[in-house]
Amino acid sequence: MATRRSRAAARMMMAPAVVLLLGWMLVPLTMTLWFSFRRYLPMRGGDLGWAGFDNYVRFVSSSAFWPSIQATLVIVGGVLAATVALGVLLALLLDQPIWGQGVVRVLVIAPFFVMPTVSALVWKNMFMDPVNGLFAHLWRLFGAEPLAWMSEASLPSIVLIVSWQWLPFATLILLTAIQSLDREQLEAAEMDGAGPLSRFVHIILPHLSRAVTVVILIQTIFLLSVFAEIFVTTQGSFGTRTLTYLIYQRVLESQNVGLGSAGGVYAIILANIVAIFLMRIVGKNLDA
């Protein structure tokens, strides 16, 4: 398959996708870079001239910067941990012979189809509302003071909402991975005297490592830019201001496009650090 002809054809066929994505990346990126060096304040008349590195310095030195990085990492990490751990358990459960497997799978898969805005609205209002929310009713039923989720447990709440959305994804990938495990390997382990727990630890978990990396990779890509869930619920208060949200505040609430663009550049750098880190693991794991 490796003739000159086919290689030439391959380059031709790659071109549209590569060119489009390159444009999609470079054009806004260049503009963002440009803005980040300008005093660009739309409310004060737009581009007010050269700003040097002021925006960059101001963005990092703002008291909100490091907490926002922390919040970003906590949300991404929290959701990843929750979805992978629960996903593995759920996948194991769904892999067992049960009555109505198809229906259960349909139930489990459903949250994935719900738009982030809707799920955030539903969770925030109908479950986590401290007065009318279902959780509040539940808490009161047991005589406890209802929790004001969005303020008293803001990060966990957001992690919960986002995890709920992404759990189906993790579960499905892990389930398919479990089902692809060579049954003879499990049988061999059984013959070798491994009990259910040993089989899980020594055979199933290592087999899942590849699927877990894929889950982590894909979810991280989406989670780094989580926005709607925060916008709808806490609007960035109570320590839920992620980097993305901070940029949003700078650009749209404070109307300081230059500053926000500098933040955007930082976010791109962060994303690429995470990306390189992930690609390392994934790259290795995808080859294997």
Binding site: P42, M43, R44, D129, A148, M150, F238, G239, E253, Q255
Partner: protein, 411 residues
């Protein structure tokens, strides 16, 4: 022509949508509505107007945006309105808030101030009577007495949810009555002053003792539904809420609500704000004439009558026209009088005890304010949630405001 109108998803606007046919019948113009939640709306219209995107022929904006945008030349001035429209009928406080140098840039769809709504039955049970213009000390005492946590009754419901239009609207207005201000005449942030400390401490103490659980997540809507369910003894909030809490269809306490002016601290300023949702035309729209027609229709006296006829007087958009309050039919509504008094007692041009370089009662009409106040609001909200003390919150607020003002080039 088809007009594209961006508006907020409040009850009055939704009612307006339902009545658009009347406009179309009169003028032949069609209307496309883009109805969005308040925060989304602001994000949309701001982006659009600052980049001259031209997606909307009419935007629903507030008293905060109007002067700023008008100064940037982004809004078409609303002069030459028809005689029938009767501009002078618009309440002066409202009109001032929507004008720059005497020119009106946005026509008020409804206006509001804030006032106390309280439960007459609970007040009575607590052995107190609400004066027409109470002080903060009275309010605090009454709130503590009314609180009955066992039965899910909280003496006072106040905004706690972070946002410049949420808790900061309330707290800024409240701070005015305590003699505080955002900036001095040199644009120096004032969160390090004793007045602010007093304001915030008072607020936090009151809420901790007599407020509902999770108050730091409560905005207008949350408090409204709390009050409607009879869980609040008092609620200080927008005057428009009066029609909701007295509506027996939605409210369990409709017949037990009393009204009073927002409290003061004896310094000559009350803690009520002033706000109006108004319709404005971005410059550059090609349908300016039709847009004007629409605005005249939607903010006219005739529109008020149309709503009254269809939905009853309590449901007409309040707070814009003197003639409405002169109307004997409307005067029958329990909240009409107090609403008018509240609006009239607000002065956007001189909002504070000490002099300030800015306009706006519960906001500062500079472009940076929304961003700054939201962040400050988050600090205060966190303090209400018990995550930090009043001192810490104020110190952070001071620091971040200084930062932002510097970034914006004020100092």
């Amino acid at each position: 022509e088809t007009l594209t109108i961006a508006t907020v998803n409040n009850g009055d606007m939704i009612r307006m949508q339902g009545l658009t046919d009347d406009f179309t019948a009169k003028t032949g113009h069609k209307v496309e509505w883009v109805t969005l939640e308040e925060n989304v709306l602001r994000q949309r219209v701001t982006t659009d107007i600052s980049t001259k995107g031209g997606q909307f022929d009419i935007m629903t904006i507030g008293m905060y945006e109007t002067p700023i945008w008008a100064r940037n030349g982004w809004l078409a001035p609303l002069n030459d309105l028809s005689a029938e429209y009767d501009v002078d009928d618009i309440l002066p406080a409202i009109r001032n808030g929507l004008s720059v140098d005497g020119t009106l840039y946005a026509a008020p769809f409804y206006g509001e101030s804030s006032m106390i709504m309280y439960r007459k039955d609970l007040m009575e049970a607590a052995g107190l009577t609400m004066p027409e213009a109470p002080s903060w000390d009275f309010v605090a005492e009454a709130a503590r007495k009314m609180t009955d946590r066992e039965n899910g009754i909280y003496g006072i419901c106040l905004r706690g949810k972070a946002g410049w239009g949420e808790n900061m609207a309330f707290l800024t207005a409240m701070s005015n009555s305590f003699g505080a201000r955002w900036f001095d005449m040199e644009w120096r942030p004032q969160f390090d002053t004793p007045e602010w400390k007093q304001t915030l401490t008072f607020y936090l103490d009151l809420m901790n003792e007599a407020g509902p659980p999770g108050a730091s997540a409560n905005g207008f809507n949350e408090n409204l539904s709390l009050f409607q369910q009879g869980k609040c003894g008092m609620w200080i909030d927008a005057t428009v809420a009066a029609s909701f809490v007295t509506n027996p269809k939605e409210s369990t306490v409709a017949d037990k609500v009393g009204f009073a002016l927002a409290p003061d601290a004896g310094l000559g300023k009350r803690s009520n704000w002033l706000w109006a949702w108004a319709l404005a035309i971005p410059t550059g729209t090609k349908k300016e004439a039709a847009a004007r027609q629409f605005i005249e229709w939607a903010t006219s006296k005739a529109y008020l009558e149309l709503v009254a006829q269809k939905e009853g007087w309590p449901n007409v958009p309040p707070g814009t026209r003197a003639s409405l309050y002169a109307n004997p039919e409307y005067a029958k509504t329990p909240f009409a009088e107090m609403t008018l008094k509240s609006i009239n007692s607000a002065d956007p041009l001189h909002p504070t005890v000490k002099p300030v370089p800015y306009v706006g009662v519960q906001f500062v009409a500079i472009p940076e304010f929304a961003g700054i106040a939201t962040e400050v609001g988050q600090e205060f909200s966190a303090a209400l949630a018990g995550q930090q003390t009043a001192e810490e919150a104020l110190a952070k607020a001071q620091a971040l405001t200084e930062d932002a003002m510097e970034a914006a080039g004020y100092r």
